[in-house]
């Protein structure tokens, strides 16, 4: 595995509450990504970062925010969780080359 840790691995939360997922890397890679995986949709890009404090939106960014204050950590926040955000969330990292490596995933259930 490429030195990526996602936390928590599983979470159940209530509708309307804020939730933060963490992605931590030990590879010092510049690029970090958050995807959500849903049946029939594959992986969809939520946000990505190309450096400390440098982030950009992906294709499904509504309802999500991110922060990257350190190279090694990329946080994904659901500002007010909804049932439609129940999903499996994957973090990925990429260095100078184009290959991305994925974390183990976080299963989030919003009830």
């Amino acid at each position: 595995d490429a030195g990526i840790t996602q936390s928590p691995r599983h979470k159940v939360t209530e509708t309307g509450t804020p939730v933060t997922l963490r992605c931590h890397q030990t590879e010092n890679h510049r690029y970090m990504y958050w995807y959500r995986q849903d049946p029939g949709h594959g992986l969809r890009l939520i946000h990505y970062s190309y450096g400390v404090k440098d982030t950009d939106k992906g294709e499904v960014s509504d309802g999500y925010s991110v922060s990257r204050s350190k190279t090694e950590d990329f946080l994904l926040t659901l500002e007010s969780a909804t049932s439609s955000q129940t999903s499996v969330y994957f973090c990925a990292i990429k260095g100078a080359g184009p290959v991305a490596f994925f974390g183990q995933g976080t299963r989030l259930t919003v009830v």
Binding site: Y31, G40, L43, Y50, F90, A92, P98, F102, G105
Partner: protein
């Protein structure tokens, strides 16, 4: 924005059958292409990649893929599948001039013993 299409949602094969999974993308520029595999309950792992050069690339576990630029395709093949190939397979595209990476919806492969 670029998109990636995987035409087969679920493929069921018997062991030793040949496999071909389709992938097409819609991006006019130069791209890097990938196939990732996700075994049940696990994260995505790189199966193979194409950056440039020989359009026929070989990956792990006997998989190969062919890049056909004129068709915007990057199909995955394996001559003889095994039960252990049961997994979900994702095609991904990364335009060379940016760091966005987009995935197809995935194809679930079930191999019957």
């Amino acid at each position: 924005a670029q998109s990636v299409s995987q035409h087969n949602h679920h493929v069921i094969l018997s062991e030793a059958a040949s496999l071909e999974l389709g992938c097409n993308y819609s991006y006019g520029g130069t791209v890097n292409l990938f196939w990732y595999v996700q075994y049940p309950g696990q994260h995505l792992q790189l199966l193979l990649k194409y950056f440039s050069g020989d359009p026929l690339v070989k990956g792990i576990k006997g998989f190969e893929a062919e890049f056909i630029k004129s068709k915007f395709s990057f199909n995955l093949r394996k001559p003889s599948v095994q039960w252990s190939d049961t997994a979900e397979y994702f095609c991904a595209v990364n335009p060379v001039n940016n760091n966005d990476m987009r995935f197809g919806a995935g194809t679930r492969l079930t191999v019957k013993p």
